[in-house]
Symmetry: C2
Subunit: 487 residues, 2 copies
């Protein structure tokens, strides 16, 4: 079947180009000399143009039409299904709009960077207005029947997810969490544990080794913001950062490990097809949050982390370490939020970006709306825009519909962990001994191996036997509000 | 003029793709986890296919035809001239032959690797025969009027260079050098200087800093074999290696610096055009050899190198260091040959590959021919094929016509150095103080800035006022045969 061969060859080419693009981005953030940036932008531009051209080409559409109704096996049917979906979505967006968005994103990030440094929202406002307008136009092009522009934006990150589901889930969370926050013993135990960088480095290396990170097929480097890329099945690169006296590196290295493991455990038969990667942003984030919240912040695993810190020359009790890793303290900043208050930061951003795209909130009114929301949801008085609505780059980069995946990731992780715990039993004993084989295997079978064959909702239902709920997450965070034995 | 814009855009795209390919190769040799190799081969394959497709496309030919005779400025005329040359050459080779050569090259490198390890020429013979046959067929496709297949192979590395010129130059060298080797005081002073790796690293870093290597736009890493890539004008990456107790790193880091400087000093107006890179392999090698032979091996510069080794905690006299860097000792191995005997290794390979491609030497008879040639040219008895005709990967990779550039590089470097010395004067005083600004400037003006606007022969004639000769090289090597004051 010539059309099928051609289709699979084109798809393989597109996946290779995507890997090349990831390598260029990794290199830029980890290895590239600073002055290489201008040439790198050109190189990335050419790759993006070639990729777009070949992903939206007429020949691909002809192969798809030829294959409709053909007697394909199950795998090829899924390949065809996703290929049609991707091809149609890519072709709905006029090239001029795609180019304009790319420029607005680059300009917006630059404007954001300067505005945040100067704590000057007005310097960011024009770029924000342009990005909102372009995101709305883009969403309108992309939207299918009965979808709003914001639905369409969401679908770029989580295909099939609807705004209404988010309203329901996040609405319930917005009711349930603030009382828990109010109950919580506010503590800042982490400030009392000053782990030197050298001990952090040894502890991170030792912990990752226990999880299966080996130099034959992994790299672990340092970058300004931790991230992970997968250049090939056996070429995984994660980064972390080490802040003197902080514990963040222990959490973020497990977070990034979760992203990496997902991609590594996709069924090898899907390699170089359009199915051979993580299915959505929220499932990806759930994998990261599972290792961050449910492993790294697990009381049992604190035994392992404390032992690794000890091997690095810094000794403290597992109980004290655990208390520092789970301490609740409402604050203005999302990225350093504790696991209980974290989703409230996301809910605020969801409400606001939804209103921006719907035209119900003017970009100029964002600082006031932010201020109000932080007070209402977190009880936090925001002292400046730099520590408020200018803290994240996403809207400056034109990414609307992205934030919800962070919150969904927390919920999905909790639901998966609950299902896994019930099914496997004895997870805490495993974690106390630093054994994660059963966890990796369960995740591989239930989530990872499917790649893009299942969308977000299907993954959750097949893995846990039910639709996404907030209760498992509430069960996870409730104990965090109780006084710690060592706090 | 739409055709010109399209042509320049396509060319810019092709240069960006070439940079991306270089980055992938650099990453593979310096950063990639070992198991990433399979995916990397796929990624490089896709880039090569896309590049070939877009470099040989009909549309490009149509733009070229439309622009013939148009009133272009001088720069665009050169762009058009090279674009036509490159397009026509690329289209002369059937796609099947290009694919077959790529496979034979990959297989041949693997066969070579195993055969060398086992010192078993017969295990390499089938791959060698296949590569010779394919190289001959490729040369015959590529050859223009009056060109032999070997001429055509040479033109891939040095456009415009003919076999007859090489016969003349290398024939004269083959007469002139052996008597000098016989006269030379055979010494092995380097074996008496055992520089630890740590001191080498500090000395290399300090020396490169003096030459202008700064972290804002350079990387210096370690790899199994030293090499240099240019990912962008301001993103240069060179590698070196440190062998315990050896001085090679001092020479090879200056060698690689020469390659790097060439690319960095091409006229910025040529960036992202088909003119914006080094013009040929022999000119490139001459830039490397100039810094290796005429700077690093200069008695005056030994003051600087000795000081840098001293700063690295290893002290020795400049005179003794210099003697170690220039000591003459005929040996079986090309890559570690001294500057006097080095070209004789190249002449042997030139004679043999010429005979292989012409069908005058059967691949099976290579070991005997090698043995005879080493005795005749260098007076060296070859003890095994592993240390004889299996020592280099080139023929295993299907690269015929490449070796001569190494020998030409030595000759061109000497002729450039002589012309520069006469014109500028006082170079040795500069070198004694570690000042290389005048050298860099002269090379930039006379050689580097032209990029591909001048071919090999024109560069030499414009820079030195005459055609390539062997006398400057003979003047350079003659003093190496005299007893060193400290030997």
């Amino acid at each position: 079947m010539a059309a099928l061969e051609k289709l699979r060859e084109r798809i393989a080419e597109l996946t290779d180009l995507a890997s090349v693009e990831m390598l260029l981005q990794w290199d830029q953030l980890v290895m590239m000399p600073a002055e290489g940036a201008a040439a790198r932008a050109q190189q990335l531009g050419v790759l993006a143009r070639l990729t777009h051209e070949r992903a939206t080409a007429e020949d691909l559409g002809a192969w798809l039409s030829e294959l409709e109704g053909a007697g394909l096996d199950e795998l090829d049917r899924d390949i065809l299904r996703l290929a049609r979906r991707d091809w149609e979505r890519a072709r709905r967006v006029p090239k001029e709009l795609a180019v304009e968005r790319a420029h607005a994103s680059a300009d917006g990030q630059q404007a954001w960077y300067l505005a945040r440094a100067a704590d000057d929202f007005s310097a960011f406002l024009p770029a924000l207005e342009r990005n909102v307008e372009l995101a709305r136009a883009y969403g309108e092009c992309l939207a299918g029947d009965g979808e709003s522009a914001y639905d369409a934006l969401l679908s770029d990150y989580d295909f099939g997810l609807r705004t209404e589901e988010l309203r329901t889930l996040f609405g319930a969370l917005a009711q349930a969490l603030p009382p828990l926050v109010a109950e919580a013993q506010i503590s800042s135990p982490s400030s009392s544990i000053e782990v030197p960088v050298g001990a952090q480095q040894l502890a991170v290396a030792g912990t990752l080794r226990r999880l299966g990170v080996q130099q034959e097929s992994w790299r672990v480097d340092v970058s300004a913001h931790p991230f992970t890329v997968w250049i090939g099945r056996a070429d995984t690169r994660m980064t972390t950062r080490y802040l003197d006296g902080e514990l963040e590196s222990l959490l973020s290295s497990l977070h990034e490990f979760g992203h990496a493991l997902y991609e590594r455990q996709v069924d090898p038969a899907l390699e170089r097809t359009n199915l051979g990667r993580g299915t959505s942003m929220s499932i990806h984030e759930s994998q990261a949050k599972l290792w961050e919240n449910h492993v790294a912040r697990n009381r049992a695993f604190a035994d392992v982390l404390a032992a690794e810190l000890g091997a690095g020359g810094f000794s403290l009790s597992p109980a004290k370490l655990h208390a520092a890793l789970v301490g609740v303290k409402p604050s203005a900043i999302r990225v350093s939020a504790d696991p209980l208050t974290y989703p409230l930061h996301i809910i605020l951003r969801f409400e606001l970006e939804l209103a921006l795209i719907a035209g119900e909130l003017a970009a100029a009114d964002l600082p006031d709306a932010w201020h109000e929301g932080m007070l209402r949801l977190l009880g936090v008085e925001v002292s400046s825009n730099a520590l408020g609505c200018l803290q994240d780059v996403h809207w400056g980069a034109g990414s609307f519909g992205y934030f919800p995946s962070y919150g969904l990731g927390c919920l999905i992780a909790a639901q998966l962990w609950e299902a896994m715990s019930l099914e496997l039993g004895g997870l805490e004993d495993d974690l106390r001994r630093g054994e994660v084989g059963a966890i990796k295997h369960w995740l591989g079978e239930r989530v990872h191996r499917h790649g893009r064959r299942l969308d977000t909702t299907e993954v959750i239902e097949q893995a846990t036997g039910r639709a996404l709920e907030i209760d498992p997450f509430l069960h996870y965070v409730r104990p965090l509000t109780e006084p710690s034995p060592v706090a």
